[in-house]
């Protein structure tokens, strides 16, 4: 689409779109950098899993080789992609939490009254959240490297597109959920009903063949869980390989969640209908 066509259709130039995206992404990045506690906690959470939880299960996986790995791996190596996806899952939900906060304090309302299309504003917000999650992931991978988790050098590059896609999917999911949250306190429910089930019923902590041995039904649920595919997409990409099925599922879910979020945030159908945040009418 050329600038002229875009301008004709929406009344804005590409430069104006870029200014908007820059503003939203930059605000989110600044916010992240200024909230050191958030950065530290985003890093500490997966590291606790890596250093403490994984240490107890060190010998669990020494008996089989599963793709994309070409040899035996320690449990720490196995759960690293799962922990990366966990960072993105929490970040996605945290972004949604920030949207609830923004809505309560009025920032979101200011943003949503911008003349630019609402879907574009939300997409920028999503992109901003994803960029922050990618920063967190690379910080985690840096620490993990000192813990002998050393994927191939090229893997650090090939994992980036997977991180962007899974970050968008999980962020869009968070956005979709946040549209239905009326108060900040309701976020605890998101933890219980979204984050924990998604994380535990996935291939993040244990390979699916292991889950299959314990409970075929759970293994089936894990396969239906888009988070499993985000984990597998990241796992394969980290070793320079592509998991086609996971790519399709994550890509498909990202689009569905994004469209859902765009619709949910439409004042005529979504939050506007319910009136201002905090249940006030």
């Amino acid at each position: 689409m050329t600038t002229d066509v875009l301008t004709q259709k929406t009344g804005f130039t590409l430069a104006q779109y870029a200014i908007c995206m820059n503003g939203i992404v930059w605000r989110e990045a600044l916010r992240f950098l200024h909230q050191r506690e958030r950065f530290v906690s985003a890093l500490v959470r997966p590291l606790v899993w890596l250093f403490i939880f994984a240490a107890g299960f060190r010998q669990v996986l020494g008996i089989s080789i599963i793709p994309p790995y070409e040899t035996y791996i320690l449990y720490e190596v196995y759960i690293t992609p799962g922990l990366i996806a966990m960072i993105q899952l929490f970040n996605g939900m945290q972004s949604s939490l920030s949207m609830v906060y923004d809505r309560e304090t009025g920032n979101m309302r200011t943003l949503l009254v911008s003349p630019l299309p609402r879907w574009y504003l939300l997409f920028c917000k999503l992109l901003a959240g994803t960029a922050v999650s990618v920063l967190q992931v690379y910080a985690f991978l840096l620490v993990a490297w000192f813990w002998d988790i050393e994927p191939p050098h090229l893997g650090y590059l090939t994992v980036l597109p997977a991180l962007l896609l899974s970050g968008l999917m999980l962020g869009a999911l968070g956005m979709l959920i946040s549209s239905g949250i009326q108060q900040l306190e309701n976020f605890a429910g998101v933890m219980n009903f979204v984050i924990f089930p998604m994380f535990f019923a996935s291939s993040a902590l244990y390979p699916l063949w292991r889950v299959q041995e314990g409970s075929p039904m759970l293994a089936y649920l894990c396969q239906l869980n888009p988070f499993t595919h985000a984990v597998e997409l990241i796992r394969f990409a980290l070793y320079g390989r592509l998991n086609g099925l996971s790519l399709a599922v994550v890509g498909g879910c990202a689009v569905v969640f994004m469209v859902g979020a765009a619709i949910a945030y439409d004042p005529s159908r979504g939050i506007g209908r319910r009136g201002p945040a905090g249940g006030e009418t």
Binding site: G62, Y72, L74
Partner: protein, 322 residues
């Protein structure tokens, strides 16, 4: 380009492609086969049927044959590398397990596990030259770089026997830890290393003084000490780095051969026993008996890069000489 010129270029290109990559031969103790691994593609290209319970395996120095001790058939079989099949046998004693050749590649010294002897065989004549009585359950075999001293370790006697190759007499015995399985000289003859499976150590011996001068121990966090059972030893040509296979610990220990300190443990398959370097020492291959595979270690990076399925209970491994 003329037709002749085209054919000439085509033939030159065909010749420029290496005729064969380095091949690793792995003896599979339970399936009674030898797996041939192409070290370029890291795939098993052929499986050769051999006698019963193949264990010790080595190339002859000319690279044309592979010798494999088939313990339950009480003989050493000769595999023709070109034909990829067993073509002959050598007369060992009962239950041959490990063997070593002299520097010239003419004599073969075989440890016969069941009758406490080392048999000396003339490889070319396929004849037995004599026997040396050693301790109970002989296994590990090594020959000093100058070819004057043959080492045999006896698993039950817990000794490294020093045998003079000229007189074929034991000239010294060095007590090591329980169940010595393997012996390896440094190329400069400065040290002899003997692994002890039950003892869980590697004893470093001064080959001149014929006494133990040091001991290497291993400790892997989270593993019981009994699970650490050192067997195979691989030493780089410069004598600076050694690799020790730790059996059911599923690890290969990387040892600084100068300081005798363990620097790293590499996770491989289950019950790793023997090791072999590729001729350029870029890779070290390990036989993992219980998981029926061979792991490939990148020697420079000290990383396990691949694991390849082979036959049942892979035991020994031999690499084609350069």
């Amino acid at each position: 380009m003329s037709r002749q010129m085209f054919y000439a270029v085509a033939i030159w290109l065909a010749c420029a492609v290496p005729a064969s990559a380095t091949m690793a031969y792995v003896s599979n103790e339970k399936s009674n086969t030898v797996s041939v691994i192409d070290t370029d593609s890291w795939t098993v290209t052929r499986t050769i049927k051999v006698g019963q319970r193949p264990r010790g395996i080595e190339f002859t120095h000319d690279g044309k044959s592979v010798l494999v001790a088939v313990g339950d058939d009480d003989t050493i079989e000769v595999i023709d590398v070109a034909k990829q099949e067993v073509v002959d046998t050598l007369p060992s004693g009962p239950d041959p397990e490990l063997f070593v050749q002299d520097a010239a590649g003419k004599l073969l010294y075989v440890a016969n596990e069941n009758d406490n002897t080392v048999t000396i065989i003339d490889i070319a004549r396929r004849g037995r030259l004599g026997e040396v009585q050693v301790g109970v359950e002989p296994e590990g075999m090594a020959i000093s770089p100058d070819g004057k001293i043959l080492i045999n370790t006896s698993e039950t006697t817990n000794m490294a026997h020093f045998i003079d190759t000229a007189t074929r007499q034991i000239v010294a015995n060095v007590l090591v830890d329980a169940r010595p399985r393997f012996a390896e000289f440094k190329r400069d003859n400065s040290e002899l290393w003997v692994s002890a499976e039950i003892g869980g150590t590697v004893t470093v011996i001064d080959p001149v003084k014929r006494e133990a001068t040091g001991k290497i121990s291993f400790a892997i966090p989270g593993l019981r000490r009994e699970a650490i059972q050192p067997v195979g030893i691989g030493m780089t040509k410069d004598g600076k780095t050694a690799f020790v296979a730790l059996g059911p610990a599923n690890r290969v220990a990387v040892v600084d051969a100068m300081t005798h300190q363990v620097t790293k443990y590499l996770l491989v398959g289950q019950r790793v026993w023997h090791l072999a370097f590729t001729p350029d020492e870029k890779y070290l291959l390990t036989t993992n008996g219980v998981s029926n595979d061979v792991s490939v270690i990148d020697v420079a990076a000290l990383k396990v890069i691949k694991t390849i399925q082979v036959g049942e209970l892979p035991w020994g491994i031999a690499m084609a000489p350069p």
